[in-house]
């Protein structure tokens, strides 16, 4: 967290003025088995917002995303997605309710390679169009993804298992963008990519028109987020620590 210099008190639980709250998390705890990873976390994300979530490995960024999607071992606390309660006290069954959460408008773009090796790029993008509307419009939506990631056009009929790491990440992100989502959770989009490719992937994410939706990007490299997101929140030991907004001009130490 030393990366963020301008620290302010913990975020207040109200959407930004004139905006709608896409995600409201209250008192969320989550973990796996006996281990508690997220501790009583409160977070609000307003519409049209790009939020950066920074923190070291093992401090709960991915677990927070998984908890929102109902994929952790257990969880408790309130998660309101577009005003609908999707969080519940759960002790087992990770993933049982995930598809209902996704139907409420969540697109989770997971860390690493959560892809289907044998499906082609095209089928892969189709699989992301979960809601009936997205499925009907899937042709137009695919065109949009190809516009964001031009390298995918040539690879349409190629099984994803044969692609390179950067191409896979593009497919994975593209799959998330196919959905009718109002909240995009992007987990470490640049992890394991060469800096140049990582930057272009992030640029592509920035080029997505958010309109009424919101995007949360978990990232370790604060310098990459600088100037690209509206707000940055630090995460440490399962809690949110400190916040900096782009309006305040958050500074990062370059040597980190």
């Amino acid at each position: 967290m030393s990366a963020i210099v301008a620290l302010s008190p913990p975020p207040a639980l109200a959407p930004a003025p004139g905006k709608r709250a896409v995600l409201t998390v209250k008192g969320l705890s989550a973990g796996y088995g006996p281990m508690r990873v997220i501790h009583d976390l409160d977070l609000i994300v307003s519409s049209g917002e790009r939020l950066g979530l920074v923190g070291l490995n093992g401090h709960g960024k991915s677990t927070l995303f998984y908890a929102i999607a109902g994929l952790t071992g257990w969880q408790r606390g309130s998660i309101l997605l577009n005003g609908v309660e999707v969080g519940r006290t759960r002790s087992q069954g990770p993933g049982r309710y995930t598809h209902t959460v996704v139907r409420q408008g969540l697109a989770l773009i997971p860390q690493g390679d959560e892809i289907f090796h044998g499906l082609t790029v095209e089928e892969h993008l189709d699989s992301g169009a979960f809601t009936p509307r997205a499925w009907k419009e899937r042709k137009a939506r695919k065109e949009r993804i190809y516009a964001i990631f031009p390298p995918l056009v040539k690879l349409m009929k190629t099984p994803v298992g044969r692609l390179s790491g950067g191409e896979r990440r593009m497919v994975s992100i593209g799959r998330g963008l196919m959905a009718d989502a109002s909240l995009f959770l992007v987990d470490e989009p640049t992890l394991g990519l060469a800096p140049k490719i990582g930057k272009s992937v992030l640029d592509a994410l920035m080029s997505v028109e958010l309109e009424d939706s919101a995007m949360v990007i978990a990232e370790q490299n604060v310098a990459l987020l600088e100037g690209r997101v509206d707000r940055v929140i630090g995460m440490h030991a399962g809690k949110l620590k400190g916040e900096a907004s782009a309006a305040l001009g958050f500074q990062t130490r370059r040597e980190l």
Binding site: V102, F116, H117, S127, G161, R162, R175
Partner: protein
């Protein structure tokens, strides 16, 4: 005993066992369940078809349809009993194995209780006619079996390639965790998978009943053959299962011709072991060019 007769027999058996193997393979790779109740579903759908032929009509299509429908219902029953309650509990693979084994034992005993130990036979659903093809006599049931099983399996595979549910099933076969992230409901897809694979078992049961009788325990041998073909082809690979069915069918034909019928199972398993020693992922390991993980 001429070679044409044996080869045509082997092709027929390969088609039927291949159908079973594909069903088992799809079940295992998409819902993660080794369905030991598959033999029970097989026997159950045989009885379903028999009931239809006794009390409704002996029309071939109706009997076949009744068998497939009973199989699909049986598959959904197994799904409701052995998949839905335990699929998110720890050690699901072993629990599912035991649960399906229990369903199989209870189910076959129930069939024995209801229908008695006497074997039943189905009407000849493909009629009585013969084709002479270059000295080989092909009877109606052989041609009907081969054509029907290939047509139905092809239809199922095409459906899995082109439809949305098929896409969901294939996605779940490749990465269940990512499938739930994308928003695919595991339980709903489980019902689809089990209904379809159950229907395939029903199809195989009716087709095999053209050669053998229907009995409460008649599903055991076909299931063992199906499992071994699925293993040999690489669990989860449909193309692998098809090739394995052909290879093992040919092996069966050649062994019974050259060595004698009693050696069939020996050479069968030696062949499977050799294939799995060379290619631990089965024949699919040779087909699959995609990079893993």
């Amino acid at each position: 005993m001429d070679i044409g007769f044996i080869v045509s027999n082997a092709v027929v058996l390969a088609c039927i066992y291949g159908t079973l193997a594909i069903g088992l393979s799809i079940t295992w790779s998409s819902v993660g369940l080794i369905n030991l109740a598959y033999g029970f579903i097989f026997a159950l759908s045989g009885y379903g078809a028999w009931l239809a032929s006794q009390y409704v009509t002996a029309n071939g299509i109706v009997v076949l349809g009744a068998g497939v429908l009973t199989g699909a219902l049986g598959g959904m029953l197994v799904c409701a009993l052995a998949f839905i309650p335990i699929h998110d509990k720890p050690n699901f693979t072993v629990r599912g194995l035991i649960a399906t084994l229990a369903i199989s034992l209870v189910g076959t005993q129930a069939l024995l209780w209801f229908f008695g130990p006497r074997a039943k036979n189905l009407p000849e659903i493909f009629g009585f006619w013969k084709v002479h093809l270059g000295g080989i006599i092909l009877t109606s049931d052989k041609i009907g079996n081969v054509v029907t099983s290939i047509a139905v399996v092809t239809a199922v595979l095409l459906w899995m390639r082109s439809s949305r549910r098929g896409l969901e099933i294939r996605a779940m076969m490749m990465n269940p965790h990512a499938a739930s992230i994308v928003g695919i409901g595991v339980r709903k897809t489980g019902f689809y998978v089990m209904a379809i694979t159950g229907g395939l078992a029903g199809l195989a049961a009716v087709l095999l009943s053209q050669t053998y009788y229907i009995s409460p325990f008649g599903g055991l041998t076909p299931m063992i053959k199906g499992v071994s073909i699925a293993l040999c082809g690489g669990l989860g690979s449909v193309r692998g299962a098809v090739i394995a069915a052909i290879v093992l069918g040919l092996n069966e034909a050649l062994t019974s011709r050259l060595l004698g019928g009693q050696y069939v199972l020996i050479t069968q398993f030696v062949l499977i072991i050799v294939i799995l020693l060379i290619r631990p992922r089965g024949i699919a390991g040779m087909l699959d060019r995609a990079r893993e993980a």
